[in-house]
Each structure stands twice: as C-alpha cells, then as structure tokens.
Symmetry: C2
Subunit: 260 residues, 2 copies
Amino acid sequence: MPKEKLSIVKIGGNIIEDDASLKSFLKLFSVLEGKKILVHGGGKRATSIASKLGIESKMINGRRITDAETLEVITMVYGGLVNKNIVAQLQALHIDAIGLTGADANSIYSEKRPVKDVDYGFVGDVKKVNHLSVEKLIQSGFTPVFCAITHDGQGQLLNTNADTITSQVAIGMSKFYETAIYYCFELNGVLKDINDKDSVIKHINLVSYSNLLKEGIIADGMLPKLENCFEALKNGVQTINMGNTSMLTKENDNFTRITL
Amino acid sequence: MPKEKLSIVKIGGNIIEDDASLKSFLKLFSVLEGKKILVHGGGKRATSIASKLGIESKMINGRRITDAETLEVITMVYGGLVNKNIVAQLQALHIDAIGLTGADANSIYSEKRPVKDVDYGFVGDVKKVNHLSVEKLIQSGFTPVFCAITHDGQGQLLNTNADTITSQVAIGMSKFYETAIYYCFELNGVLKDINDKDSVIKHINLVSYSNLLKEGIIADGMLPKLENCFEALKNGVQTINMGNTSMLTKENDNFTRITL
C-alpha cells in the first residue's frame, strides 16, 4: 500500500517579520492538501527584543552565540510570541494547530554542541526525532507547528537551526509517510544566475547536482543547504522543494524540485 | 463503572518565581498518581520584563489592563519562557508534558471581556473548553501544561485568569473523569484565623460554608475563590483542595478539602 503524503513546510524570518506576508502565507498553508507540519525560525524579532532588554548579541565568525540570557529571549520570542500567534491565526483558518518546542511531547531530543574552537552556548544538535509522539498528534487531527527550540532531556532547552529541525522531522516522519519538504525563502528557487531571479533551475537530482557543482553554479550559502537536502533524501524524504511561498499553490511551478 | 481519576493542579506566581520552589513542586507533581493537568499563571516576571521593555503596567481599581504591548509580553513570558521551561523540567522527570495556550489544539475558547465601566483590553472570559481535544492529548499519554492564555477563534490571543482556566478545564474534563482540583498557594489552606497559619479548616461543604460566611470567617479575597469552587463543584468537579504544595503528598493532610 502506498504511504500517505505528509508535507513539512519551513518558513524563515522574512515571512515572520512582516504581518501581511505571514497572513498570506498562513492562508496558503491552510489550504495545502493532506497532512502537514509547519516549522518556523525566529528572525530579527529576537535580536530587537534582546537589544531592548539590554542583552548584547554576541557573534563569532558571523554566528550567534546563545548565552543563558539569549536563550531566554529565544524561548520568549520563538516559543511564545511567534509560535502562539501563528497557532491562533491557523485556528482562525480552521487548522487545528498545536505549537511545539522539541521539549513538548518530548518530540525532538538534541545534545548541546560540544565546545571545540568556539563555544556556541545553548545550541543543540538534533539527535532524535520522536516520530511516534509526532504521529500521535497528527493522528489526533492536530497540525504541529514547531519553533526552533529543542531539549536535552535533562531540563535544558536548546536553540536549534530551523532548517535542521525541518529535515530531521521529515526524515523521522518518513517511517510513516511519503514526505515532501517545502523550504520557503525569498528567492524563487535555486538560481542559475544569482542576478536573474527568473533563472530558476526547476529540477535538481544527484547527477545534475554534481554538474552544477563542477560549473560553479552552486556555491556559498546554497552549498550547505543542498548538501542537507541530499542527506534528507538519502534518509527517506521523497521530495524537497525550494522557492517562494507561492510554490504551495498549484498555479506556480516555477520553483526548484530536488530528488535523488 | 466508576470514572478514572484526573487531577488538575494550579500553581501561582510565588512558586514560579523561585527556581528552587518550582523544582521541588515539579518533583511532587511528577510523582502524583494518575492522569493530571498542570495550570500555571505568570506572576511578576511579566511585569519586570514589561518594565525593562519600557511598557508601563496600567492598573485600574487594582486590576491590570492588558493592552496590545502587554499581551505580547504575556505571550512571551507565560506562553514561552515559563511554560517551556516547566515542560522541559517535567520531561527530565519522565512526565511527557505538552505545553499549551488555549489556542493550541483549540483547547480553550474565550471572548474578549465587553467594555462596561472599564476596558480591560485583551482579556478573555472562558466560554468553552474543548474537552475532546484535551482528552485526545491525555489518551495519547501526554500531560497538558496550560498557561493563562486563551483565544477567541478569530486569531486573537487573550489574557485569562489562571484560576478560571483551572476550574473551567476541570468542569470540562468531568465528562470523562472524576476530577479533583488542587489550588496550590502560599497558605496552608483556608484559615479560621488569618493570623494563625495552622488554623486550617480541613473540610468545607455547602452547609459549613454558609456558617463560615455568617460568622464572618470567610471574607475578602477568599470569598470569590470559594464562590468559584462551589460553582465548579455544582458543575461536575468532585473535590477541590486548597493548600501549600505539600498537599500533593500523602504525608500532609493539613489542607482544606471542599466538597458539596
């Protein structure tokens, strides 16, 4: 019997920070067919609230350090303000949403990143998605909405990359479902020419990926993103889609579809 | 067939604000037998964060007014910081907790309090507890942890009294369970003499309550609390217990038990 479909949709800061963008995205998400999960990051809201509270954002090599105070702000902003407002808005759209950190329902267990050259502070690397717990929620008719926080099982919350949460949850749920990831971002997809927003590469697989690498078309920020994608595809995820939010509709096919 | 037991435990600001008190309470809660639900308020943490963010706490007749900015702080502090830390700590104690506002799983629907003499702002009066949704979570093996926030079903979160959430959730769940409420507070129970902390009235029912009223022993702040209790008891709740957190153990029987 073919598995039922499950969509895991990730939205970034650019959507969350703008009320109108968030509202129009949530409408698209609410009419997306089949079972689904939403994952959101936090964006600049945490930085601005931290700065108002007099907490300095510490960066090393361009990466944010999550000290105890910063973790509190992240827990307030991602886990409270952003997550609960998304849940309330989805309820108004008749989606029975339930907002989660990885601590809730013990859904995502992570380990504090070991200190090597840099001490990232309270940052967690995902070790295990409790797919049985998430499945119980989905089977009960709920739509999980994850923020970018996990826990270590010892009472410690940990700041965790939202892209990683997305791919790990998708991998975990592949045991039950045919899973598709939708990474919604500000571009229309993976671009052939970064200066031409319409130069979307519509399909990438392992063969074309290695050619794109050789030609130098995929580089910089897109490289780790695509490496993560192939990692997820090799671990059970069926399809990964990258593009702007309108790819959730059937009208737009101008986005990047990634398969093995 | 007798109904299964369900305990609904409410803790106030005095426990939440002190890390050691919270930790020792959560230990007691974790070993409490049978199915259970936790409800927490927010306490002074919200006030101190609001003031750091430059948001003035507006009071009218001693009651806090929840304007849009204050609601944001409440959502951050109650729904994020306090709720998620309690959930993570319960997970460490092997309780499979799941943190909720009334928007999550559409669990508690409320209406914005109508403006009469005072405009309380974004404050909600509970209209309906979705006992079926809460039951799905409990049946899945989760322990719901509610913060004092509900929603109006139109996308609006609303600040809601934690005592009311407790009694309304207990009333709703009485359809499935024999429910007992535990109101944990700083006193040992309802006191005969407010100056003698050991003068606990061990049992109050409707008859003894009317005598206590006549004698003037119950007055002031305790009056509305007890009125709410009898309201809950008349609507299906079996027992209400008031006292300090040690009443959750079998060793302490020095607290107030209220029945019809």
